[in-house]
Structures are given as structure tokens and as C-alpha cells.
Amino acid sequence: MEHGHAADIDRHVRTYVMVFVSLMVLTVVTVGIYYLHLSRPAAIALALVVATVKGALVACFFMHLISERRLVYWVLLLTVAFFFVLLFVPMLTSLLDQARV
């Protein structure tokens, strides 16, 4: 991120405090979802959505991704693409195996 002046840093610190409070609330929500005893698919979907929001808050504000240089975005875009390949290729091969049987 750009290195700013004292006023900019104060603004950053206020954002960090707000993100911290949001993460705490979302942690309570994460545990709360479990105690609601929803159906398993609904609980999985909801928990992953909350975790993704929490992860995005950490990445955007604590890791300064919201104001990063373009090259970092390209690196991450490539990483996300390969991450999904990694996630789905094994499942695809197992599905193909099942289809063959």
C-alpha cells in the first residue's frame, strides 16, 4: 500500500478497529449457525459464506489488498485459478472413474 501521512494512518487504524469488531460479530454468527441445527447442506453453505466474508475482510483491510498494486492482483488471480483446478480436478477424475464403472 501507499505510505501515507499521520492522518491517513489514523484513518487506517479506525478501519482496523471496525474490521476487528465485524470479525468478532461474524465469529459469533459462525458458532450461532451451528447451534441453529439447520440441515447439513444449508449449514455448510451458510458457514462457508460467513467464512468467505471474514476472509475477505482480513485480506482487503489487514493485508491491504483494497489498495494494492496491479501485479499483486494478477498473482492472486492466477493463484485462485490454480486453487480451483486443484480443488476440482481430483473430484472430476473420481466422477469419471464412477462413470466408467
Binding site: 505510505h3 501515507g4 499521520a6 494512518i9 487506517h12 487504524v13 482496523y16 478497529v17 476487528f20 470479525l23 468478532m24 465469529t27 459462525t30 458458532v31 449457525i33 451451528y34 447439513r40 449449514a43 455448510i44 458457514a47 462457508l48 460467513v50 467464512a51 471474514k54 476472509g55 482480513v58 485480506a59 489487514f62 493485508m63 491491504h64 498494486r69 496491479r70 501485479l71 499483486v72 498473482v75 492472486l76 492466477l78 493463484t79 490454480f82 486453487f83 486443484l86 480443488l87 481430483p90 473430484m91 473420481s94
Partner: protein, 196 residues
């Protein structure tokens, strides 16, 4: 020989060498944990039945660990903000607080592991426990590594402030990126292993 672009950004990328280096490292870390998450999904989808983590694991302790790790991310980013404000002593205090919170995470994790071992719940007991210990063990190792780096910058590494303060500020920011990544991984591990 001097390391190039430690303080000034490279004109072509707009980034310092350290910044691009840590992001490339984190990209490789995404693939490491990604491979294990893919393994988890494969094992779970292929298993005839899969236990709800909470029936075996301790949810209150894991919730406490989530709070500890999120708080440590705030102290880490405050260490960087303090250096940006040119306040080294405050930055060192926040770095030590981050190390202490990392230590608290490890102690709580050790209590959890110990309770499992006392009940003879080892990785060999079930597929669920095997992937649980693999994922949380690798994560705990990352917490430990982050603690070592942060302790270095809070202790002997902070001497660099007197010769090149901006380089130290950048290095603490990069150490912070690693620490926040470790926090981010736990944010996903917690619901996936304990609550679903």
C-alpha cells in the same frame, strides 16, 4: 552487495522486492493448504459417513482460539501502523503482544490435542482425525514460524530502526501479511473441521 528495491518500489512493478516476494510465497502457501483442503473434500465425499466435528472436538476452545488469532491480527497491523507513525517502542509492544497471542493459541491447541490423546484419539483412529491433525498441525507449525519472525522483529531485528527505518517498516508489513494469511486459513479451518 546491497539488496535492490527494499525501500523504493521498482519502477516497472510499483512494488518493493520484499512485497512481491512475500505475495509469491503466499501464493505457494495457498496451493499447499489448497491441496489439503481438496484432500479433505475427497475424503469426506468418498466416506460412507462423516462425523460432525463438534461431536469429537472442543468447540468452545476452538472459538476462543479464533478470537485469540483475530485479536493477534489486529495487534500485528497496529505494530505496522505504529512504525508508520515513527513510534518504535509502541510497535515493539504490539509485536510482543502478537507473539504472546500466538503463544496463547499454541497453548490452547496443545490442551485440545492433549485431551484427544488422553481419550486415545490419534490420527490413526479415523479418517476424520487423520485430516484434522494434518490440517491443524500444519497450521500450528505456521503459527510457530510466524511467532519466531515476529519475535525477531520485536527483539534483535528492531535495531534496524536506527539505520534504515523504512526498510524495517516494510519488513514488518511483510511479516504481517504472512501472519494475516495464517489467520485467514484458521477462519476457514474452524467451521470446516469443528462445525460442519
Amino acid at each position: 552487495m546491497e539488496i535492490p528495491y527494499t525501500v523504493e518500489a521498482r519502477p516497472d512493478t510499483g512494488l518493493t522486492s520484499g512485497k512481491i516476494g512475500i505475495w509469491l510465497f503466499l501464493a505457494s502457501e495457498v496451493m499447499l493448504f489448497g491441496a489439503l483442503f481438496a484432500t479433505y473434500i475427497m475424503l469426506r465425499v468418498g466416506a460412507p459417513e462423516w462425523p460432525v466435528g463438534a461431536s469429537i472436538l472442543n468447540v468452545p476452545l476452538a472459538t476462543l482460539n479464533t478470537i485469540v488469532l483475530i485479536t493477534s491480527s489486529v495487534t500485528m497491523v497496529m505494530a505496522w501502523a505504529s512504525l508508520m507513525r515513527r513510534d518504535l517502542s509502541k510497535a515493539r509492544m504490539f509485536l510482543w503482544a502478537t507473539v504472546a497471542l500466538g503463544g496463547a493459541f499454541m497453548v490452547i491447541k496443545a490442551i485440545e490435542y492433549n485431551a484427544k490423546f488422553e481419550h486415545h484419539l490419534y490420527p490413526s483412529e479415523s479418517t476424520f482425525l487423520a485430516i484434522y491433525f494434518t490440517l491443524t498441525g500444519l497450521h500450528a507449525f505456521h503459527v510457530l514460524a510466524g511467532m519466531v519472525v515476529n519475535a525477531y522483529f520485536a527483539g534483535p531485528g528492531s535495531r534496524q530502526w536506527h539505520t534504515n527505518p523504512q526498510w524495517l517498516t516494510n519488513r514488518v508489513e511483510h511479516a504481517g501479511l504472512f501472519w494475516h494469511f495464517v489467520d485467514l486459513v484458521w477462519i476457514f479451518l474452524f467451521p470446516v473441521l469443528y462445525l460442519l
